[in-house]
């Protein structure tokens, strides 16, 4: 196998442009691949004050004109942006004398560019499906949703391999697009442990801004929307307070905020439940380190990165047994799993963790070990590199080679 493996990563978001989980994913994956000696180009959308070309941690980043004129709607904008992305990537590929081995696309947002480039340069295309329109919308209800779904189907059809971040997503994607099993491969999402290790060990003063010394901290991080199950946690609060003195810290925002605040007020628990909104990264990292328990009560979760972050921060996790969370958490070993959408079960899990210090210590240590073994970006980059090499081995026997 040649050692100058080159990959052209296509992603609609890359830091400092952060819209969702794809941006940090592509950043850490690209950086870790570069460490493995892979030459990585990232082609992404432009962002105010970010340069159109720069090298970040060994990764060559090109930011393209993302079509800034008004577009009729989001989906049409995506296709117009792809026109620019494809044009500029084609020019770049020609400039480097076609010295690339694979195109790697992330989600339907770069489908057109990825598919067109594959055929124009006759190089293999891989895709990571982070999510699906069916999953996001709980079905396909409008023409736009159907169009996006069919674009996803087209992308997975054209791809040599389809990477998903959990077994749950593998099953879902296989069913949603009717793909053969040998086309799908699971590579978990990674989590960065360094950012937690860099934090000062003494967080006593920091902690006192949020809770009294005798109060345990229960942390929720996520959008305040139905699928995240935050209402289940709020309903569990009085049941938990019967058994243990705790402060509930809610980080994030969303359309359910007012409704949730009203419930907390009607229970007379405003002094126990703090809504912090969005927090800056450092504050969030510190809170995750301080938390006596981190709660992920989601009803739908393709992966569940927030559970992994808590594990990396050495905060014990209580999560609902659903989607990707079911795979991340091993019950009684790396965390506690509870029934989804069930406040009694959730209260039981949180109480169990808060009342038993030895148990807490044990699952924290196990969880941190698991993160290092399975969700380390270096290992994930190695797996991804192996997938590229496997695809290139198959490609070398095809008439395109």
């Amino acid at each position: 196998m040649k050692d100058d493996l080159t990959v052209m990563m296509l992603s609609w978001e890359f830091p400092p442009r952060i819209i969702g989980g794809i941006s940090p994913h592509v950043y850490f994956l690209s950086k870790s691949l570069a460490k493995q000696g892979v030459k990585v180009y990232v082609i992404t959308c432009d962002f105010p004050d970010a340069p159109s070309h720069e090298i970040i941690d060994g990764v060559e980043v090109y930011r393209i004109d993302s079509y800034k004129n008004p577009a009729p709607d989001f989906a049409t904008w995506v296709y117009l942006m792809n026109l620019n992305m494809q044009k500029e990537t084609a020019a770049l590929t020609r400039k480097i004398a076609n010295k690339i081995d694979v195109f790697h696309a992330h989600d339907w947002l770069v489908a057109n560019a990825g598919i067109g480039l594959k055929h124009v340069f006759r190089k293999p295309l891989l895709v990571t499906m982070h999510s699906t329109e069916m999953g996001r919308r709980d079905g396909l209800h409008t023409s736009t949703e159907k169009m996006i779904h069919e674009t996803e189907a087209w992308l997975t059809y054209e791809a040599w391999r389809v990477i998903c971040c959990s077994e749950y997503m593998i099953t879902h994607v296989k069913w949603a697009f009717g793909l053969p099993s040998d086309k799908l491969v699971m590579v978990p999402n990674g989590v960065n442990t360094d950012c937690y290790n860099d934090i000062d060990a003494d967080l006593k003063d920091f902690r006192s801004k949020f809770a009294l010394p005798e109060e345990k901290i229960v942390l929720f991080v996520g959008r305040l929307v139905y699928e995240k199950g935050i209402h289940v946690l709020i309903n569990a609060v009085p049941k938990i307070l019967e058994k243990v003195n705790a402060k509930f810290i809610i980080v994030g925002s969303g359309y359910m905020k007012e409704q949730l605040l009203n419930i907390v007020r009607s229970m007379g628990l405003e002094h126990k439940v703090l809504f912090e909104g969005f927090l800056d990264e450092q504050t969030l990292l510190k809170l995750q380190k301080c938390a006596d328990v981190s709660v992920v009560p989601s009803l739908f979760e393709p992966f569940g990165i927030v559970a992994l972050e808590a594990m990396a921060a050495k905060s014990p996790v209580v999560a609902s047994d659903t989607g990707g969370l079911s795979e991340i958490i091993e019950h009684d070993v790396t965390g506690v799993k509870v029934y989804p959408n069930n406040p009694d079960s959730l209260a039981w899990g949180i109480t169990k963790v808060l009342l038993d210090e030895n148990y807490r210590k044990r699952i924290r240590e196990n969880a941190y070990k698991r993160v290092q073994e399975k969700y380390d970006w270096e290992k994930i980059a190695q797996q991804t590199k192996h997938i590229y090499e496997g695809v290139l081995g198959e490609y070398s026997k095809s008439f395109w080679a």
């Binding site: 577009a71 067109g116 055929h119 340069f121």
Partner: protein
Amino acid sequence: MRIIIFSWEYPPRVVGKLSEYVKALSTQLVASNVEVNVVTYDDFFTGSAQEPTGVKTVRVSNPVRTHIGVLTWVLTLNQEVERAAANIYYQAKKQIDLVDVYDWHFIPAAVTLKNGLGIPFVYSVESLEDHRSPNTNTSYNMAIKGVEWLGFYEAEKISVKSEWMRDEVIRIYKVPKEKIVVISTNPTSWITEILKLYNSTSGGLKGK
């Protein structure tokens, strides 16, 4: 000379006047010893890839069935046009002299092929969005005008059928006059003029 023509209509698919025009042009070019590949849209009226006239046609269909407008329909169809054109390119051992693209629909594919493979293209103007939808500047129309602008900017040469159209292209898109060639459909000079245009375009990207 080996060329590829992009047109979103070609017989038996007839939407406007373009279809019969491209057919007549292709047939005449074949008679003048040009290898003509037409890449067009398959609306399921035909299956044959080889026309009796000697024109090679590839008909592509849209990989995405559901659409919310002509714009999304066109933008997803372009990758299939690229696939068809790339197949012709690689089968011809990368010897394609130029692409001649009719109207805005397949400009994205022509632009990608130019930037990625160095195949120059002629943008042949049949009509403009500004005339088709006068006095409308919705984001939808502006996006189509944006694609037309990209075509004028990236094209090696622009071909129009009348001096009026040449002046309109200059007025609306500020294209330099030297880039535009007026070729009337006068039967005595038509094909000669087209061949002259192709010859001046072919190899236009070499050394760039």
